[in-house]
């Protein structure tokens, strides 16, 4: 089993710095999700952990043992690639058993492990097929099977679901969660999809531009984002951010509207206010703090998304639970939940 530690890990290609000073400790059995926009260095970090990419600086250890120079084959990690990387000339069973074949495991041992994994993943009937004879979802399963069969000390996933259609993606997500519960192995999972991150992770690592922005549980990130980037990246739909100023114990928006905030307001340095769409509510005229015109209303059944244009403040997204009888063009009064207000400094840092 594996406790993985990254200390001041850095990566550069020539003079281009891709990752800087990455520090992270992954506990044994933890499900860690690396999330961030495309190009931020997630895959690079994962590939360094796998041993596919040399580490430019810092130290990477597993259970206290330095791993920087160890080739991938000796790191005892399994990886599921975005492209699945199934060997096109081998059938499903041989694909799954290839690592055992290389390690010269006994034939019956190999067979029973392949059989076990095939059963877990519902691939029993497909063992003689070639990858090109499988559907996308089935290929995905084979790729996972190949990882399971090895019983590795850690699983690495690089955007494993991004080539699947939406329905299949949800299904496979559940499957991966179940797998983690059953195997209790360390898993490191890369995705750019924050929904995957929130649903799967024990802890999420948010990366942007080669730096770690924040590490925390899904709820941590949702409720206490460290900065504006994390606040806007985590949560869907995206958090509304408005220019704002501290005025005593309340916050003044650009139109002059004042918002009461629960708890302390920092005396200075407030530059923006953030509020999630689900924390703004449609209110009658007596409770409304300000009002605007509904430009677009999306009735999703479970929720209603209302895009509101407020003069002097800007566009807003409001998400109400259930059905709300608002129509495009209506004048709506809005009320911001004072407990859920986020405040950001000029440099994006979270102030509360």
């Amino acid at each position: 089993m594996a406790r993985i530690e990254l200390q001041s890990i850095a990566k550069s290609y020539g003079s281009v710095e891709v990752l800087r000073d990455i520090n992270l400790t992954i506990e044994d059995g933890e499900f860690i999700v690396l999330v961030g926009p495309s190009g931020c260095g997630k895959s690079t970090l994962l590939r360094m952990i796998a041993g596919l990419e040399p580490i430019s600086g810092g130290e990477f250890t597993i259970d206290g043992r330095r791993m920087n120079e160890v080739p991938p084959r000796d790191r005892d990690m399994a990886m599921v690639f975005q492209s699945y990387a199934l060997y096109p000339h081998m059938d499903v069973a041989r694909n799954m058993g290839f690592s055992l074949e290389i390690r010269k495991a006994a034939a019956e041992d190999r067979q029973s492990k392949i059989q076990g994994a095939a059963k877990t993943l519902g691939l029993t009937g497909l063992k003689e097929r070639l990858p090109k004879q499988l559907s996308g979802g089935q290929r995905q399963r084979v790729a996972m099977g190949r990882a399971i069969v090895r019983d590795p000390s850690a699983f690495l996933f690089d955007e494993p679901l991004s080539n699947l259609d939406a329905a299949l993606r949800v299904e496979m997500r559940l499957e991966i969660a179940r797998l983690h519960q059953r195997l209790e192995a360390t898993m490191i999972y890369v995705t750019h999809d924050q929904v995957e991150a929130l649903t799967l992770a024990d802890r999420i690592v948010v990366l942007n531009g080669g730096d770690i922005q924040q590490v925390g549980t899904p709820l941590d990130l949702y409720e206490r984002p460290a900065n504006k980037f994390v606040a806007q990246f985590i949560g869907s739909p995206t958090m509304n951010v408005l220019r704002a100023e501290a005025k005593g114990d309340s916050i003044a928006l650009s139109g002059g509207t004042r918002i009461q905030v629960e708890g302390d307001v920092p005396a200075s340095g407030v530059s923006e206010l953030g509020i999630r769409p689900e924390h703004i509510h449609v209110a009658g005229s007596e409770a409304a703090q300000f009002s605007g015109r509904a430009e677009l209303v999306e009735h999703l059944g479970s929720d209603t998304n209302i895009h509101v244009q407020v003069d002097g403040i800007g566009p807003f997204l409001v998400r109400e639970h259930g059905h709300v009888p608002v129509n495009t063009g209506d004048e709506v009064g809005l009320f911001i939940d004072p407990e859920k207000v986020h405040l950001f400094a000029e440099d994006g840092r979270s102030l509360r």
Partner: protein, 309 residues
């Protein structure tokens, strides 16, 4: 499970440093190729250039040594050299012109659908596989009025006054090797241009068609621009190969009659092979190399001007 046999992570099975391997590995893969090319081509190339400034003749073994630019001075006044230069020009131009246009035509045809395409493609590409010496012999025979039909056909068409062997006529002899070269070289252009044609996305043509383009318009507006880079590179490479290509002429005419088909590369070969005068042969080769380099540079500059990439 397997935990008894499985090594703990990080216990390398006695392997040299990962980094060392990472740095050294590519050099291991290219070294055989590099050593071979360096020893068999680059070193002799340097020696060859140095021969041009020496007297190296196996027939006069005691007169070896550095002679400065003597070989080149001799070259300057060598009437055969200037004739060969002129012949090289016509040989290359004639061959490349017909090879290219006929090859392009063939590639366009093979890029359409018709019955039996696979077989036709294999057959029309066949001349490329015919060993050069055999192509040369075959065409020499075809031009021979005693066993070949060509002179009779040409006479019947009124191109020749009577069926005789054009390879023996100093005015017409060059057309013999050129014909053989065109026959042999069409497949090269057809193969490379076909590959380029097949990589043009089909939607482009569909879009053009929806926009009302005629066949000729979609050829000039889509096909040609897409082919342009490939055309530039293949024409350049082929020109150089053809200018250097001595086998066909050497077998068909040996440079004759009266040096009318002597090109620089056959002149190099006969000087080296028949007269064993390596110094002079190398001087001719250096002259040819310089001319080709000038040509390549001009073409590359033109390409940069014309093809915007």
């Amino acid at each position: 499970m397997m935990s008894t046999t499985k090594p703990a992570p990080g216990k390398p099975r006695a392997r040299p440093s990962f980094y060392f391997r990472y740095l050294v590995e590519p050099y291991l893969y290219i070294s055989p190729a590099f050593v071979l090319i360096a020893l068999v081509m680059l070193v002799p190339l340097v020696i060859g250039v140095s021969y041009a400034f020496q007297s190296v003749s196996l027939l006069r073994p005691f007169e070896t040594g550095w002679v400065g630019t003597e070989n080149f001075q001799a070259l300057w006044t060598d009437r055969k050299f200037w004739l060969a230069l002129k012949n090289t020009f016509w040989w290359t131009l004639g061959s490349i012109f017909f090879q290219f246009f006929l090859g392009l035509g063939l590639a366009l045809l093979l890029n359409t659908h018709f019955y039996g395409k696979r077989l036709v493609q294999a057959l029309v590409f066949l001349p490329w596989a015919v060993p050069t010496f055999l192509s040369a012999l075959t065409w020499a025979w075809l031009f021979n009025p005693t066993i070949g039909p060509l002179p009779h056909w040409l006479a019947a068409l009124g191109i020749l006054s009577e069926p005789y062997n054009i390879l023996g006529d100093p005015d017409l002899a060059m057309w013999g090797p050129i014909t053989a070269n065109v026959w042999f070289g069409i497949p090269f252009f057809a193969i490379t241009l076909l590959a380029a044609l097949q990589s043009i996305p089909g939607e482009l043509y569909e879009a053009a068609e929806i926009d009302g383009a005629t066949a000729w318009q979609s050829f000039t507006k889509i096909t040609l621009p897409f082919l342009a880079p490939m055309i530039a590179i293949t024409v350049m490479l082929r020109t150089i190969w053809i200018a250097n290509f001595a086998d066909l002429i050497f077998v068909m005419t040996g440079g004759g009659p009266a040096n009318s088909t002597q090109i620089l590369s056959t002149y190099i070969f006969t000087t080296a092979f028949r007269k064993l005068d390596f110094g002079y042969a190398s001087a001719i080769a250096v002259a040819l190399l310089v001319l080709l380099l000038i040509y390549a540079v001009i073409l590359l500059v033109l390409r940069r001007r014309l093809v915007k990439i």
